[in-house]
Subunit: 243 residues, 2 copies
DNA sequence: CGGTGTCTTGACTCCTCTCAAGTTCGGTGG
DNA sequence: CCACCGAACTTGAGAGGAGTCAAGACACCG
């Protein structure tokens, strides 16, 4: 059991001490391994009885489209994250999701999740607990959109992404590899792609951060933290709270 | 048990069929009934070991403050909603909350929730499931901030609020009573209070919606829905999914 | 009857968007 | 090997939405 730990298992164990039965159920979620090309849409807004996915490799993003064709990216997913959980919890899918890079993921049918949750309620608690932490990130993102200028938004976003990736062992204080395009940034930050470009240029010229060729480099980490008023508390994690 | 149903109990039963033991635990959460004046801060960002509250009467809002003194309201709570649940789930509170009106609420100590969850895992599942639906609302709010103009934001916000309140039996298609100030709207929508005033005036002059003297009146519901591209799917609710 | 909180309105500024041209670069096929 | 292509990235100019500052109106309350 120990050596087979997936990123997800590790994450869940941080919230709830899981029994053998829980881990069995979780293991069953990982049966249907699949891979998808960059750009493939995994979750379709409005669809019923949608499968969820557990991301094993690569990046994805979840988003909502507006009638005028604009889109707002809500969150990015990295290995160990659930994709489309809410679409199983509720009958109709309220968002879409697509692969940012080529990805590897386990498909979990809606019925499997509901059955699993009914039989392993502590696992259900753990999964939903983790979802609740994702909500904290969405909340921070919301504050970002509501009350920060374009530059602060960008700074905050890159710092948060960096912090999240460090938790999964990708990247460090100097920076991280990042497959996102400026269009992704625009859709996530509620800006136009043109303005994203200008903001990035300005941050680079100020010597704060460089985003080029798929790499984010924190040139002046402290300065960036100050500009963004960044604070990592909402990502805190220790031992399981429920024993 | 039947006649004692709180708004919260009714809400949870929509997601998970609860046992007598679950209902007992839930009942125990309601022991410490308290009331607070309008403006009282219930949840303090950064605090450890924070109590949560179950709102029974009145309105509250949860928000985050920024270092420059601005604030962003993340969500409003109405009777039946949890306040500060995430502050119990994680060790440090990541947001604040205050009473908008005079309110009645049950205080639930962190330890009581964690104990309750450990002993009644299906209740835990239900509570977190409900929290997940709140997340859907936060997501919609985020899209609102990221990709809609001030007018669309306002229209969408008022429609969503109206829809939520109808579910709790407050208000109807013609409008609802609303204790929020224009400052609340500004902090929720990421606008300045001055601009909120102008937007409200314009919507009123267009004959779409009137917000005056604590009352929101939908003068042209259809027109408002069109302007906001409003869609209620994400609030769907039927019978319990987990039996 | 002053005072405080809320709401209005006007004038001016500036941040971000849109439109419109390029440029760079990796890949693909002749 | 080179020409071409599309995707992503740049940059400039002009327009407009939303912010700020400032002043006043209104209403509720002790």
């Amino acid at each position: 059991m120990f050596i087979l730990q997936s990123p997800l298992t590790r994450k869940l164990a941080a919230f709830v001490a899981l029994s053998e039965a829980d881990l069995d159920t979780l293991e069953r979620f990982h049966r249907r391994r699949r891979s998808f090309l960059s750009g493939h849409q995994l979750i379709h807004e409005g669809q019923k009885n949608q499968s969820a996915f557990i991301l094993a490799e690569g990046w994805a993003c979840s988003y909502k489209m507006l009638p005028d064709g604009e889109r707002q990216i809500v969150d990015f997913q990295v290995p160990g994250d659930f994709l489309g959980l809410r679409s199983v919890l509720f009958r109709t899918t309220d968002h879409s999701a697509e692969a940012v890079t080529r990805i590897e993921a386990s498909e979990v049918r809606a019925a499997d999740i509901l059955d699993g949750f009914a039989n392993a309620p502590r696992l259900a608690t753990a999964v939903l607990w983790a979802a609740s932490r994702d909500e904290a990130m969405v909340v921070e993102h919301l504050v970002n959109l509501g009350r920060r200028s374009a530059e602060e938004r960008m700074a905050h976003f890159l710092l948060e992404l960096g912090a999240r990736l460090q938790l999964v062992g990708i990247g460090d204080k100097t920076g991280f590899d990042c497959p996102l395009t400026q269009y992704h940034l625009a859709d996530a930050l509620g800006l136009s792609a043109v303005h994203v470009n200008r903001v990035l240029r300005h941050l680079r010229e100020e010597g704060l951060v460089t985003f080029q060729k798929g790499r984010v480099s924190f040139d002046d980490f402290g300065g960036l933290v100050t500009l963004a008023a960044f604070d990592t508390d909402y990502l805190d994690q220790d031992g399981p709270l429920l024993r």
